[in-house]
């Protein structure tokens, strides 16, 4: 599924119109511990997190993720959004909880990330 299709599925608002909406999403993931995500993230991932500081964008960019999804209507601060626009990282915001986001994405057939051996 593409980022645009995913946004529709989770009633998401796209906060970074500059980022590519036709980007293919490879898998879904949720975690708020950035150290953990650095060790377990994957390219093309849609990452659900309540963290909104600039390092979130740095991680998403370095791991070549497809999108960051912020749950429960949490706002991302402007400097982070600016960085996301610069790096062309999709940031979606939704009123759904992380649980509901993942449930909807999984029901639509988006897999979790491949397990480490």
């Amino acid at each position: 599924m593409t980022v645009a299709e995913m946004a529709k599925l989770i009633d998401g608002t796209n906060l970074t119109p500059e980022a590519p909406k036709d980007r293919e999403v490879s898998c879904g993931y949720t975690c708020d511990l950035l150290s953990w995500v650095m060790a377990h993230g994957a390219a093309g991932m849609a990452w659900v997190t309540v963290q909104t500081h600039m390092n979130v964008i740095a991680v998403a960019s370095l791991m070549e993720m497809a999108a960051v999804i912020i749950p429960e209507g949490i706002e991302m601060e402007e400097p982070s959004l600016q960085k996301a626009r610069d790096e062309e990282i999709n940031v979606l915001s939704t009123k759904l909880t992380a649980y509901e986001i993942c449930a909807r994405l999984a029901a639509a057939g988006l897999p979790g990330k491949e397990r480490d051996a």
Binding site: A39, Q51, A58
Partner: protein
Amino acid sequence: MAVLLEKSFPVEAGAYTTAGEASTTIKRTLKQLGISAEVLRHVSVACYEVELNLVIHSLGGTLTLLVDPEKVTLISKDIGPGIPDIDKAMTEGFSTANEEARTLGFGAGMGLPNMKRNATEFDIQSEVGVGTTITMSFALK
């Protein structure tokens, strides 16, 4: 081996908001050199981890990128405080990160092990009161 490229980036202690800038620049530079996506990913992860370590734990330091036809090398050199017990520091789950770093979602004690996992060769030297030097290389073939 002939060095094709050498670049150094100063990293400031405690500069959480700009953490990742050096790694982003390094990634962009390597991408322009045509380094494969897989190697690029390994370098990017290890580079960001080591940059964060400089921000979180060191008194400041420098990140140096070296590229030769065989490999990419990253050298992180700081001015202290040094690591008293390297074996302990290399243990997954062990962290001395402060509250600020933990609030941001860092300090899970995965940085050094993650660097080692991503690098082809990993070396860490440290002396308390002097500093820490981490050298990582990533084979291009």
